[in-house]
C-alpha cells in the first residue's frame, strides 16, 4: 500500500502539507467508520485505502463492521437496487429482517467514535445509539445513486437519515430535500493503484499481444461491464459509422458476472452485433485484472463511455487520468468530469458519439489537448488525496456550522 509521501510527486508538496494541517486540526478525535464488509465492493475498496492514509497523517481513524445473516443481506441487496431506481418487490419480511438484525447490531457493535461515519444503508439503524453518545457527530455516507429512489424504501430509511447530523452524496443529483446538512464528496481514483499507475510500453504491448490486438490502426475503447445501461451495442453502431471514413478498431472490454443472467445476455448480444468484423474485439476480462485494463486504456486512441445511465463514471476518470481524449454520454457524474470541448466531448446519441470520435481521430492535436486538460482536471479534482481532504473537511464541518471558518 503506497505511503502518503508517494503521492507528493503527483499532487505537489503543498497538497500533502494541507492534508497534514487538516489532520492536525482533528487531533484527539476518533473517527469510526462502519460498513458491512471488509472485502468486496467499492466501499471496502475506498476504506482499505483511506483508513491507513488517515492514520499515517496522524488521525485516529478506525473501521468496524456490522454483522448479518443471509436474510438481512438479501434484504439490503434489494434495498440497494430499489434505491438505484430498479423495480424490486420489497416485502414486509425484508423490512422485518432488516429491523431484527439492525437491533442485534445496535446491541452488539462497540460504538466509540467522536465522529461516526456510517456507510450506506446496511448499518444506518445504528443511529439509534446517537442519544446515548451525546458528544458524537453522526454522518451517513451514501455511496448509492438515490436520484430516483424507490419511495417505499426511501420512506423507510428517512426516519434514520433525519436523525443524523449530516449526510454525504457523490453527485449533486443524488441529494434530496432533507432537514440535515448534506455534503458533496465526489469519488476518486488512486493514481498509484494497478489500474492507474504508469506502465512501461512493454507491459502495454504484452497485453495487446495477449488479446491479439494489432497496433497498426487507431483503437477506440469502451471499458465497462456487460450491462444494457452501458450500451455496448450502441458503441458498435457508433464505431460502424466512424469506420466508413476512418480505418480503426474497437475494443469493448469488461467483466461479466457468471451469476448474472442479464450480463450473460448483454455479452451474447454484443458479440452478435459485432458479427465477423475482425476489427471488433469483445474482451470479457475477469475482475481484478487491473493491470490489463490499465494497459488497454493506455493503448487506446479514443476512449468512449456511451452509457445510458451512469453513477459517477469512474472509468471516465481513469481514461482522463491517462490523458486520453474521451467521448462520453452527458449523464450521471460524467458532466462533472468532462466539460464539452475542454476536457473531452459529450454526446447524447449514437450519431453524436460517432461524430465526436471522428473529430478526435481526424484532429490528433485537438484530441491531445483535450486529453491533457482532462488529465489536469482529474489531478486537481478527482484523486484520492482530494478525497482525503474532503473527508477531513467534512469532519471539521461537524464542529463548525458557519460558511466561512477560520482554522
Amino acid at each position: 500500500m503506497p505511503k502518503i509521501t508517494e503521492y507528493e510527486p503527483i499532487v505537489g508538496p503543498n497538497t500533502i502539507e494541507e492534508l497534514r494541517l487538516l489532520a492536525g486540526k482533528l487531533q484527539g478525535k476518533v473517527i469510526q467508520n462502519i460498513n458491512s464488509t471488509a472485502v468486496g465492493g467499492g466501499v471496502a475498496e475506498i476504506l482499505n485505502r483511506m483508513v491507513p492514509l488517515l492514520q499515517e497523517l496522524g488521525m485516529d481513524a478506525r473501521w468496524d463492521f456490522i454483522k448479518g445473516g443471509e436474510s438481512f443481506f438479501n434484504a439490503t441487496k434489494k434495498f440497494h437496487n430499489a434505491l438505484h431506481g430498479k423495480a424490486e418487490e420489497i416485502t414486509p419480511q425484508m423490512f422485518e429482517a432488516f429491523t431484527e438484525t439492525s437491533q442485534r447490531n445496535i446491541d452488539e457493535v462497540k460504538l466509540y467514535g467522536d465522529v461516526m461515519l456510517i456507510h450506506d444503508p446496511q448499518p444506518i439503524a445504528l443511529i439509534k445509539k446517537k442519544d446515548s453518545m451525546p458528544n458524537s457527530k453522526w454522518i451517513w455516507r451514501c455511496h448509492i445513486d438515490v436520484s430516483t429512489p424507490n419511495k417505499q424504501v426511501w420512506d423507510f430509511l428517512m426516519p434514520f437519515i433525519n436523525h443524523y447530523d449530516g449526510a454525504v452524496f457523490s453527485a449533486p443529483g443524488f441529494s434530496q430535500p432533507l432537514p440535515i446538512r448534506q455534503f458533496l464528496i465526489s469519488p476518486s481514483i488512486d493514481p498509484l493503484s494497478d489500474k492507474n499507475k504508469d506502465l512501461p510500453q512493454e507491459t502495454i504491448d504484452a497485453v495487446l499481444e495477449k488479446y491479439h490486438i494489432p497496433s497498426d490502426k487507431p483503437i477506440i475503447t469502451q471499458i465497462s461491464r456487460f450491462d444494457y445501461l452501458k450500451d455496448p451495442v450502441g458503441v458498435i453502431e457508433a464505431y460502424r459509422l466512424v469506420k466508413k471514413r476512418n480505418n480503426c478498431q474497437l475494443i469493448i472490454a469488461g467483466g461479466t458476472a457468471t451469476d448474472d443472467p442479464e450480463s450473460t445476455r448483454v455479452y451474447a448480444e454484443t458479440r452478435e452485433a459485432a458479427g465477423n468484423d475482425p476489427d471488433i474485439h469483445i474482451l470479457p476480462i475477469p475482475s481484478g485484472s487491473d493491470l490489463e485494463i490499465n494497459a488497454i486504456q493506455r493503448a487506446s486512441t479514443v476512449i468512449v463511455q456511451k452509457s445510458l445511465r451512469e453513477g459517477f463514471g469512474l472509468t471516465v476518470t481513469e481514461a482522463l487520468w491517462k490523458a486520453k481524449p474521451v467521448v462520453a454520454s452527458s449523464t450521471g457524474g460524467i458532466p462533472l468530469q468532462v466539460k464539452h470541448k475542454y476536457s473531452g466531448l459529450l454526446c447524447h446519441s449514437v450519431s453524436g458519439a460517432a461524430f465526436a470520435i471522428k473529430q478526435l481521430l481526424s484532429s490528433p492535436e485537438y484530441a491531445k489537448r483535450l486529453g491533457e486538460n482532462g488529465h489536469e482536471h482529474v489531478r486537481q479534482n478527482f484523486l484520492l488525496t482530494r478525497h482525503l481532504k474532503d473527508y477531513m473537511l467534512l469532519f471539521l464541518c461537524m464542529y463548525h456550522p458557519e460558511d466561512i471558518i477560520y482554522l
Binding site: 503543498n14 494541507e18 494541517l21 487538516l22 436520484s147 430516483t148 452524496f169 449533486p172 443529483g173 441529494s175 434530496q176 430535500p177 432533507l178 446538512r181 448534506q182 455534503f183 458533496l184 464528496i185 452527458s330 449523464t331 450521471g332 466539460k339 464539452h340 475542454y342 486538460n373 489536469e376 482536471h377 486537481q380 479534482n381 481532504k389 474532503d390 473537511l393 467534512l394 471539521l396 464541518c397 458557519e402 460558511d403 466561512i404 471558518i405 477560520y406 482554522l407
Partner: protein
C-alpha cells in the same frame, strides 16, 4: 544600491480550502432558477459564480458562472447565457450586488422573451444549488518588503492567491483585494496597489494571474532600485 522599504506590518499569506454543501434545491426551468437565486444564501451565489474558476484554474479564461453554463447548454437560451457570462464580476464588491445583477439580467431577458419560460430540462439535467463552505488557514509565508512579497507569490499555492484576490474581496466583503490593501496601507506603494486592483482577475487563469502579479512587482522593484 538602495534597499527596499520595509512594511509597517508584514503580509501574512492565507489560503482557503472549501467543501461543497448540497442544499437539496433544484430548478428545472428559468422561473424556478430565478426564484431560487433570489432566496438562497449568499454562499450559494458565491459557489456558482466561482466554482468554475477554482476547478478549472488551469484552463484558458472561462466565465466562472454555473448559471450561464446551464442556461446556455441545458435550457438552450444562448443569448441569456451570454448576458450572464458577460457580467463584469470585478465591478461588484458584495455578493448581494452580484446577485442583484444576475436577477436583473434574467428578469430583463424573460420580459423580452417570455417564451423562454416554456423550456424545461430533461430529468437528470436540473440545476442543483450548492453552497460553498470555506476553511481559511494561515500559511507559513510572510513578506515584509517587495522582494519577499514577490518571492512568496511564486511559492504559495494557487488557492492562496485565489483567496487574497477573489474570496477576500468579494466574499469576506473587504471590497478590495488583500494585496492592494497591504501594498497601499503598509508599504505606501499606491501606484502598484492600483495597478493590481484594476486588473480583471476573472479573465486570467490562476497561473497567468500569478505570473502577471509577479511581473508587476518585479517592475516596481526595478524602478525603486533605480531611484
Amino acid at each position: 544600491m538602495t534597499s527596499l522599504p520595509k512594511a509597517k506590518e508584514p503580509f501574512k499569506f492565507y489560503t482557503q480550502i472549501h467543501i461543497p454543501e448540497l442544499t437539496g434545491l433544484r430548478a428545472s426551468n428559468l422561473q424556478e432558477l430565478l426564484g431560487l437565486i433570489k432566496t438562497v444564501p449568499g454562499s450559494v451565489i458565491y459557489y456558482h459564480t466561482h466554482r468554475f474558476l477554482q476547478q478549472h484554474q488551469y484552463l484558458s479564461p472561462e466565465p466562472p458562472n454555473d448559471f450561464a453554463y446551464w442556461i446556455t447548454g441545458i435550457i438552450g437560451e444562448a443569448e441569456l447565457g451570454e448576458a450572464l457570462y458577460s457580467i463584469d464580476t470585478i465591478q461588484y464588491t458584495t455578493i448581494r450586488e452580484l446577485r442583484d445583477e444576475i436577477i436583473r439580467t434574467i428578469e430583463n431577458y424573460i420580459e423580452k422573451h417570455p417564451r423562454a419560460l416554456q423550456r424545461f430540462t430533461m430529468p437528470g439535467e436540473e440545476f442543483h444549488f450548492i453552497k460553498s463552505v470555506s476553511f481559511v488557514c494561515q500559511t507559513p509565508y510572510t513578506a515584509s518588503d517587495l522582494n519577499e512579497f514577490q518571492a512568496a507569490l511564486q511559492r504559495v499555492t494557487l488557492e492562496s492567491i485565489y483567496f487574497h484576490m477573489f474570496e477576500a474581496r468579494l466574499r469576506i466583503g473587504k471590497g478590495i483585494n488583500d494585496f492592494s490593501n497591504w501594498l497601499e496601507g503598509s508599504l505606501s506603494e499606491n501606484k502598484l496597489a492600483n495597478k493590481i486592483a484594476s486588473l480583471d482577475p476573472y479573465t486570467h487563469t490562476m497561473e497567468n494571474l500569478r505570473f502577471t502579479l509577479v511581473k508587476l512587482i518585479e517592475k516596481q522593484i526595478v524602478s525603486s532600485m533605480e531611484k
